[in-house]
């Protein structure tokens, strides 16, 4: 390295620290958080502000929206459609239905799975953990499409059920809501398992023994002691599953013919070029989703768990 301004990393850090030490604690904290704040601005605040701006712009027949105009036309259209029932029941309702069903299934399966990992040891534990992460290493499209041969009317599941005599004729799982739900559960499950497992992993297992010692049967001990302590993980898993599944795009798109809100937004943008309507629908759906998450918090918080929002 040449040049008068070149500094080695340690001296650069030292001079940086010198500057920081001079500042008050709150300013210092702000300075240290500056990169994070800049990142948030870039990837969230600015795009979201743009989205809000487009949602209150007037539609245009020449461009995707009329730049510089202000109009609530898109919102009145969205609310009109919602109130008329088609959009509400057909698309938004369907999205929230998928979101709710997927969340319930995912959290229940993830609880058992995470509990099994917590209770296992050695090779079994490694295998269980690895099998959670493994699907994340393949591309989402492939692993979602992989359900088609599994679930199709001539697929593995149907053949098994038919040959076992449990079915007289094949069931159409795909393309269907069942396929969309299964595919979406599969996508979010690893995150839910890891969220719950991370809480269970740090849990002191003696308390479960203490509960049994004090007269709780095994299932009762789990309900009284494990679940309340796992609640922070359950809440995180629920929020991830719900937010992701309401806005699901890939699984319903690949495994179902029904429209979810995300697919509809795509049609509005790429097909109809109605940017303000798409943006307004997104904002409204986000509001509904926030309300949904609020309900999740309220409900799960009642079951104990020391989850602080602050």
């Amino acid at each position: 390295m040449t040049g008068a301004n070149s500094q080695t990393l340690p001296t650069a850090l030292a001079s940086l620290q010198e500057r920081l030490v001079g500042e008050s604690a709150s300013r210092r904290a702000l300075l240290l958080m500056a990169p994070l704040i800049a990142f948030e601005l870039l990837v969230f605040v600015i795009p979201f502000a743009t989205l809000l701006r487009i949602s209150v712009a007037a539609p245009s027949s020449e461009a995707v929206y009329a730049e510089g105009t202000w109009s609530l036309e898109a919102y009145s259209e969205v609310f009109g459609d919602l109130l008329a029932g088609d959009l509400l029941l057909g698309i938004v309702g369907y999205s929230f239905l998928i979101g709710t069903v997927v969340t319930v299934l995912t959290v229940v399966i993830a609880l058992f799975y995470a509990y099994a990992i917590r209770r296992s040891s050695g090779l079994v534990k490694s295998l269980l953990l690895f099998s959670v992460v493994l699907p994340l290493l393949t591309t989402l499209v492939i692993r979602t499409y992989a359900f088609t041969p599994l679930l199709s009317p001539t697929g593995t599941i149907n053949e098994l059920l038919l040959s076992a005599g449990l079915l007289s004729e094949p069931i159409q799982f795909v393309p269907n809501t069942v396929g969309a739900v299964v595919g979406q559960v599969y996508i979010v499950l690893p995150y839910a398992v890891l969220a719950i497992y991370s809480v269970l992993a740090t849990m002191d297992w003696d308390v479960v023994e203490a509960a049994r010692d004090l007269g709780a049967s095994r299932p009762r001990a789990v309900v009284e002691v494990v679940l309340p302590q796992a609640m922070p993980g359950i809440i995180v898993a629920s929020v991830i599953s719900f937010a992701w599944s309401v806005g699901a795009y890939a699984a319903p798109g690949l495994l179902s013919d029904d429209l979810t809100f995300a697919i509809y937004v795509e049609q509005l943008i790429l097909g109809d070029l109605r940017y303000p309507t798409a943006a307004a629908l997104s904002v409204v759906t986000m509001g509904l989703m926030l309300a949904g998450i609020g309900i999740i918090f309220a409900v799960l918080d009642r079951f104990g768990g020391e989850f602080d929002l602050a």
Partner: protein, 383 residues
């Protein structure tokens, strides 16, 4: 009645045996301490009594009922765990009321009874606190209250005091003792600390390598340990290798690594029939040794002055050596003394008879019938 009968209790994990053939009768209302080093199987034994571990073999009975196959939650035992295992998501009061809740006691009644228990352990003021904010001593009291709240027939204590500092531990020992006397319930207390066992126990069961090697009153196990392991485990001692030269009615003469021939006598005058050449290990506790500087003039010296190498018909033994180092330990002073090819330590309670220092020549003396002798296989042969 809630006496506990363990019969041939065994616990194996794959190849390793944690507990092997433990049989003991724990009397109703007794406080039995299971004492042993870590890994000796004492906690596993306790956990089997609690029902938290299933025995590989053997049986457990509480009172007249065989509980071997009874799950933990149906047993009338209650455990205080080493790290107390308080429920972090409940208040102190809810913790104490938990067992009553499981027992189907109504909300108001369990609140009252839990409060009563907290008062008994002086924790009532903390009833609504989060247990994770309590100090170790406070957690210990809450755990005790929680276990007692269900009114168990048997209280099992798994080293509950080992995470407390010394002073608090000693206070809690006294308190536990009082609670035991008050409740007249059967307590089984696991500890690796012999002072704790001696403070608490009606009887002590010594465990090592998964086996219960001796059960007896505290003075019995201390003064008449069945084997060499117990003698070494219960306090400090000097082990001296010895070899029998003659076994007479007066005592057993042995040759030792101290370069001195000594006599071991039995207080009751019975001498075991030991062949010449039998290897023994003698145990000389520091409290039986008296240490004098050879230059110190003492009134009672006259009689024993020449007693070095076996007493003439008497039982007094003496060896001479050199002080290697001196450790001041507050109430006592401890001297390491090199004797022959070996080293021994002795204590004396005050330095008023003249301070000894490193390099001084000293004489160690003891009565031949205060010495314990163990065979090669560890079994005690004398007295």
């Amino acid at each position: 009645m809630s006496e506990i009968t363990l019969d041939g209790l065994e616990k194996r994990y794959g190849e390793t045996t944690a507990v092997e053939d433990v049989s003991v009768e724990i009397e109703d209302g007794e406080l039995l301490c299971l004492l042993g080093p870590s890994g000796s199987g004492k906690s596993t034994t306790l956990r089997m009594i609690a029902g938290l571990e299933t025995p590989t073999n053997g049986s457990i009975a509480i009172g007249d009922e065989d509980v071997t196959d009874l799950p933990a939650y149906e047993r009338t035992t209650s455990t205080v765990f080493q790290d107390w295992a308080l429920f972090p998501h409940m208040t102190v009061l809810e913790n104490v009321a938990f067992g009553l809740k499981m027992g189907g006691v109504s909300k108001d009644e369990r609140r009252d009874r839990a409060r009563e228990m907290l008062e008994r352990v002086q924790m009532a003021a903390h009833a609504d606190e989060d247990p994770t904010t309590l100090s170790g001593g406070q957690k210990q009291r809450v755990a005790l209250a929680r276990s007692l709240a269900v009114n168990p027939d048997v209280l099992l204590l798994d080293e509950p005091l080992s995470n407390l500092d010394k002073r608090l531990r000693e206070d809690m020992q006294i308190e536990l003792r009082e609670i035991h006397e008050d409740l007249e319930k059967t307590f089984v207390h696991v500890t690796h600390d012999q002072d704790e066992a001696f403070t608490l126990a009606d009887r002590i069961g010594i465990m090592n390598d998964g086996e219960l090697i001796q059960v007896g009153d505290p003075d019995e196990v201390y003064e008449r340990p069945e084997n060499r392991f117990i003698e070494g485990f219960l306090g400090d001692t000097n082990f001296v290798d010895a070899s029998v030269t003659a076994a007479t009615a007066d005592g057993v003469r042995v040759d030792t690594e101290l370069d001195a021939e000594l006599v071991v006598t039995a207080a009751d005058g019975t001498t075991p029939d030991l062949e010449t050449g039998t290897d023994l290990t003698l145990s000389l506790r520091p409290e039986i040794l008296s240490i004098h500087g050879v230059d110190e003039e003492r009134a009672d010296d006259a009689g024993v002055r020449d007693a070095r190498v076996a007493a003439d018909g008497g039982t007094r033994n003496a060896v001479t050596g050199t002080v290697e180092n001196v450790v001041y330990r507050g109430s006592t002073v401890r001297y390491s003394v090199s004797v022959g090819n070996s080293s021994m330590f002795a204590e004396r309670t005050d330095a008023s008879t003249g301070a000894l220092s490193a390099g001084d020549d000293v004489r160690l003396e003891w009565d031949g019938d205060d010495v314990l002798a163990f065979r090669d296989d560890g079994d005690r042969v004398m007295p």
